[in-house]
Symmetry: C2
């Protein structure tokens, strides 16, 4: 699988079950959310301006994705919505690795790296403020995506999270 | 990292925080446990007899590990203890891949495969009864091990679990 195919495989609607664990408080939590992942074209104004902010030629990007989430289905929990943008800029000669730009709403965007392994797991590494975040994403099947994230702060590991994500299929495709 | 080093890196005492998710009931659970992982020598009678049961020359194994768990520290939950044995038999020419034998107490042992990726994540694939289990294990640091497992039954995916495992260090090494 190449990086373009991997990112395209993420596009769609997903039911996301998140389990997180906070190291300092030893607190575990579970949350549900609906994710919408859409393709972001290389000529999209958001992609172009984010690349320019990071001194990267937008023509080097293969595209990106916008990820929106909504936790309305998580009854009894505070509703959370939000979105993030991920832009993928492969290295010229080794497109299984490259740079990423990630933008969280209302926060400064961050630059990092990706690596798509032979085991078809995508690793994203980002520095966000005082934290470094490592995320791994892989597909158990085309309609089951698994994802872990590990957040490290100045004083060591801070938080892990694991996401089991099931694709929401149109009714005619469920059978 | 080679497979021998990887298995050796697992040896020790670990505090394990597990989050699991059952697909059919959409139920998420969290559990704590203490893990003890010990090296199993190639001349250990358990290793020799398990290899023989599976028609494998014990001399081809590099060794294995016994994993014992105890959930006494998980207050308010039913106490669970148990142990499992994992034996590693590398392929002759490509030792990053090979066979495994896993034995759960009082259940028939199972044979499967491992693959150690360039991203230093170890993938184990086992058929246990009617289920296939895929486990991924990697180290965020020498003292923080992350692990996912995905269980698939005849009717599709059944359960995922994610483990954040922190090494228990002797008091003098904690500083």
């Amino acid at each position: 699988m190449d990086i373009q195919t991997f990112i395209e495989s993420c596009i769609g609607q997903w039911f996301s079950q998140r389990s997180s664990y906070q190291f300092d408080t030893e607190k575990a939590e579970s949350h549900k959310s609906e994710l919408t992942i859409e393709w972001l074209d290389t000529d999209h104004s958001l992609l172009v301006s984010l690349c320019q902010q990071h001194g990267i030629d937008p023509n080097q990007a293969i595209g990106g994705q916008t990820v929106s989430w909504n936790s309305s289905s998580d009854y009894g929990q505070k509703k959370q919505t939000g979105s993030t943008i991920l832009i993928v800029i492969p290295d010229n000669n080794t497109p299984q690795t490259g740079q990423i730009i990630q933008s969280f709403q209302s926060k400064p965007s961050s630059q990092g790296n990706y690596s798509l392994g032979e085991d078809e797991a995508l690793t994203l590494i980002l520095e966000v403020g005082d934290f470094s975040i490592e995320e791994r994403i892989w597909f158990a099947s085309p309609n089951l995506r698994l994802r872990t994230s590990l957040m490290k702060g100045k004083n060591g590991y801070n938080r892990t999270a694991f996401y089991s994500e099931i694709r929401r299929l149109p009714p005619q495709e469920v059978a």
